[in-house]
């Protein structure tokens, strides 16, 4: 066991799906394009016609995971879980009664888990707020490709992009596995 890296736990797989496959690869890239379309550097009427509706819907579909993922990190990635499987599960009950909690506390303190989780939660809430501002910036009945509409949407879109990048960075800081040394 010494020096080995455990297989990715379910939380890690969730993190890959959320942060790598969706947030960075798709949402952030789309928001980057949106900034350039709104500032006139790209001409794409089809994209403009569906913006920001598509990204708002995309965020709505992933919003709960954005908040749940950091909240579940401590439970999902604590080394306490190693005591549920062999060989640590074969420890005497008298040891298993206190050792997992000690290991958990040490891990929590050493890796500043509380701070990491708080930062990511704040980033998720901040991104959520930015999306609400973006939704409010859409004027009903106004043509999406009008200059006025683009001008109004550009600042909140920039803000949403910045907050999403911040969220991606915060989630990236979580460790990607439990190392046994």
């Amino acid at each position: 066991m010494r020096g080995s890296v455990t297989p990715p736990p379910p939380w890690q797989r969730r993190r890959t799906a959320f942060n790598h496959d969706w947030l960075k690869n798709q949402l952030c890239v789309t928001l980057g394009k949106a900034v350039n379309v709104l500032s006139g550097r790209i001409n794409d009427p089809a994209f403009l016609a569906s913006f920001p509706g598509d990204v708002l819907a995309d965020w709505a579909a992933h919003r709960s995971e954005a908040l749940a993922l950091p909240a579940s990190f401590e439970r999902g990635m604590s080394p306490r879980a190693l005591f549920d499987v062999p060989p640590l599960s074969r420890l005497p009950a008298s040891v298993r009664g206190w050792l997992p909690e000690v290991v958990h506390s040490l891990w929590r303190r050493r890796y500043h888990v509380g701070t990491m989780v708080d930062t990511a939660m704040r980033a998720a809430r901040s991104a959520d707020e930015a999306f609400r501002d973006l939704a409010r910036a859409v004027e009903p009945g106004c043509s999406p490709d009008s200059g006025a509409s683009r001008e109004r949407l550009l600042p909140p879109t920039r803000e949403v992009r910045a907050r999403c990048e911040e969220l991606a960075r915060a989630i990236e800081k979580f460790p990607s596995g439990v190392r046994v040394l």
Partner: protein
């Protein structure tokens, strides 16, 4: 001027979708202001987005097979096919086509079967992945990077990934990637643009330096990397390779600071006793002809760039003065005691082995170190960038057709003419080529084509010397003369006859007169030795100088006294007497010494003809 050509190797953005455009690819192009030039998408899928001012043209490649993977398909990584694609765009290009400027490379490539679950999670056509695909130690992107670095040194690679940088930072650094661009950084493509501006392998956007061969583009890239630091730079290259043009290119990198001064000095054309005044200036009365104050070239270049050509021609005393100025950043005009602070970048150039001269003490090493503190850029000779021949010929034809009155414009180039030109040694490099083309247009102003006969028949100016000109592969072996260097006496004679001296500008000749004189002196001595070797030996094997001198340039009726006088004239000419080291070097040769002692004594006895 076309945008840089990027190759983006990525499983998500490189894949093709049936009946529709890849929306993730479009988003990436939109975020980083790239124009998709892959050409693998169906126009019936709708109008593509239009990037108003793309920072690069992007060619997308999945790095896997198949490129289009409907549900149920098994996707595999494709290493050899990817390397072959890279090679086609780097080494095996069509003439005149620019190479890949840079590669953007993903790290994680998912393989395996495409399922409904994998598509729901990652996107249409993306497989479920296999163990190891998502493990930093076995990222396919790093395998590709390792192969690219070894197969195509010089081709810049930037990692473009949504994976954590810290996971791979040591490995991608060790494998030669020049940077890491997080995928989520799009929308503000400034960082990608910075990579492109400094590290991309691209032609000169101004078009002043013509060519897109790899040796030239790598030299331009080297110049950018070193020139942007603002430090002094040394440019090395054979005569006629465009050192001053390159210095201008480096000067122009300052971009928004276009008003920065540019001053050029040819050190070979400035007399030693006037060098200090030329560079540092003088005050009125500092010397006889100093009738007014005059700012030196260094002061005129203050805040900008000073180009010093032919730095090998600076004599030791002036080298010391220049070194002091570079060390102290203070210039004191001749005759003044008031120094002036200056901020000048020096771009220096030479076609000599300046490092060798520094090692033998002929050039001050501390000065050389200062001049190359920002690095050395080597310009390739024309024979190493023959891929540029068509572009250069085209460019020089346009210039020549404007200069020659009545010349037909837009004449085409016969491929056989290019073939002929490609076989020449080009000792004079690009400048020689320009002269040859100018002469061709001047000689045949009304021709619609540039054809081989315009380049002169054998034996005349512009003709190629006979014999093999380049070893296989076009590169010289270690210690061998460079490719195209004359190897026989006939080749030397033909080269001297063919070299277009008439096409050289006044400034270039003036700057080279001292070394030209040295070369002619050396040639005359070899001529004398050859003549002595050919002349029949006298009684007892003595040196016969009279028939030797007679056979060189003098009439048949030349007497021995006249021959002796001719030899004395040679040895008392300032070509020899201007530097005492020259005579010492000459007399080290036993044949020359024998001739010298015949002409001057001491004993008047003839010496044996030896070592011929």
């Amino acid at each position: 001027m076309s945008a840089p050509r990027l190759l983006v190797i990525d499983d998500l953005f490189g894949r093709t979708l049936p009946r529709q455009r890849n929306p993730q690819r479009a988003a990436l192009c939109g975020a980083f202001l790239l124009r998709d030039v892959t050409g693998d998408e169906d126009d019936r899928a709708g109008r593509p987005q239009e990037v108003t001012e793309p920072i690069a043209d992007a060619h997308f490649w999945r790095g896997q097979t198949p490129s289009c993977s409907p549900r149920g398909t098994v996707v595999e990584n494709e290493l050899e096919g990817t390397i072959a694609l890279i090679r086609r765009g780097w080494q095996d290009r069509r003439p005149g086509e620019a190479p890949w400027a840079m590669i953007l490379l993903d790290l994680c490539f998912y393989t395996g079967r495409v399922t409904a679950a994998s598509e729901a999670e990652r996107g249409e056509g993306i497989p479920e992945g296999r163990p190891g695909d998502d493990t930093p130690a076995s990222y396919f992107g790093l395998t590709l990077l390792e192969r690219i670095s070894s197969a195509f040194p010089g081709l810049p690679v930037v990692i473009l990934s949504s994976k954590a940088r810290e996971e791979v930072s040591h490995r991608f650094s060790a494998l030669g990637a020049i940077g890491f661009l997080p995928r989520e950084a799009g929308g503000s493509p400034d960082e990608l643009k910075r990579y492109l501006d400094v590290h991309a392998v691209t032609p000169d956007p101004t078009g002043r330096i013509v060519g897109c061969s790899l040796p030239l583009l790598l030299a331009l890239r080297d110049a950018r990397r070193k020139g942007l630091s603002g430090s002094h730079l040394l440019i090395r290259g054979e005569s006629g390779t465009g050192k001053e043009l390159l210095a201008h290119y480096v000067h122009g990198l300052a971009g928004g600071q276009a008003a920065r001064p540019w001053v050029a000095v040819n050190c070979g054309s400035v007399a030693s006793n006037l060098f200090a005044s030329e560079l540092f200036g003088h005050v009125r009365g500092a010397f006889t002809d100093a009738r007014s104050d005059r700012a030196g070239k260094i002061v005129l270049a203050n805040g900008g760039d000073l180009f010093l050509d032919e730095i090998g021609a600076i004599d030791p005393e002036n080298q010391a003065s220049l070194l002091r100025v570079l060390e102290d950043a203070l210039v004191t005009p001749v005759g003044s005691d008031k120094p002036e602070r200056v901020t000048v970048r020096v771009l220096s150039a030479t076609d000599e082995d300046i490092e060798g001269r520094a090692l033998t003490g002929l050039f001050r090493l501390p000065l050389l170190e200062r001049l190359r503190s920002g690095g050395t850029v080597n310009l390739p000779p024309l024979r190493d960038r023959l891929d540029d021949l068509p572009l250069l010929v085209r460019s020089f034809l346009e210039d020549a057709e404007k200069r020659v009155p009545g010349a037909v414009r837009g004449r085409r180039v016969d491929p056989q003419a290019l073939e002929r030109l490609a076989g020449w040694p080009w000792v004079g490099n690009v400048r020689q080529l320009a002269s040859v083309v100018l002469q061709a247009v001047a000689s045949y102003p009304g021709a619609d084509y540039l054809v081989p006969i315009h380049l002169g028949p054998p034996g005349e100016v512009g003709a190629a010397p006979p014999g093999p000109l380049q070893p296989e592969g076009g590169r010289s072996g270690a210690g061998a003369p460079p490719a195209g260097f004359p190897r026989t006496v006939d080749e030397v004679i033909d080269l001297l006859r063919a070299f277009p001296f008439a096409g050289l500008g006044r400034d270039e000749l003036a700057g080279r007169l001292p070394r030209f004189q040295e070369a002619v002196r050396t040639f005359l001595l070899h001529y004398l030795k050859v003549a002595i070797a050919v002349a029949p030996a006298g009684r007892g094997g003595t040196v016969q100088y009279t028939p030797a001198v007679r056979s060189m340039v003098y009439p048949a009726a030349l007497s021995s006294m006249q021959a002796k006088r001719a030899i004395r004239q040679f040895f008392t000419h300032q070509w020899v007497t201007s530097d005492e080291k020259v005579l010492a070097t000459l007399l080290a040769d036993p044949v020359i010494r024998a001739v010298y002692e015949i002409a001057f004594g001491p004993s008047g006895a003839d010496l044996r003809k030896t070592n011929l």
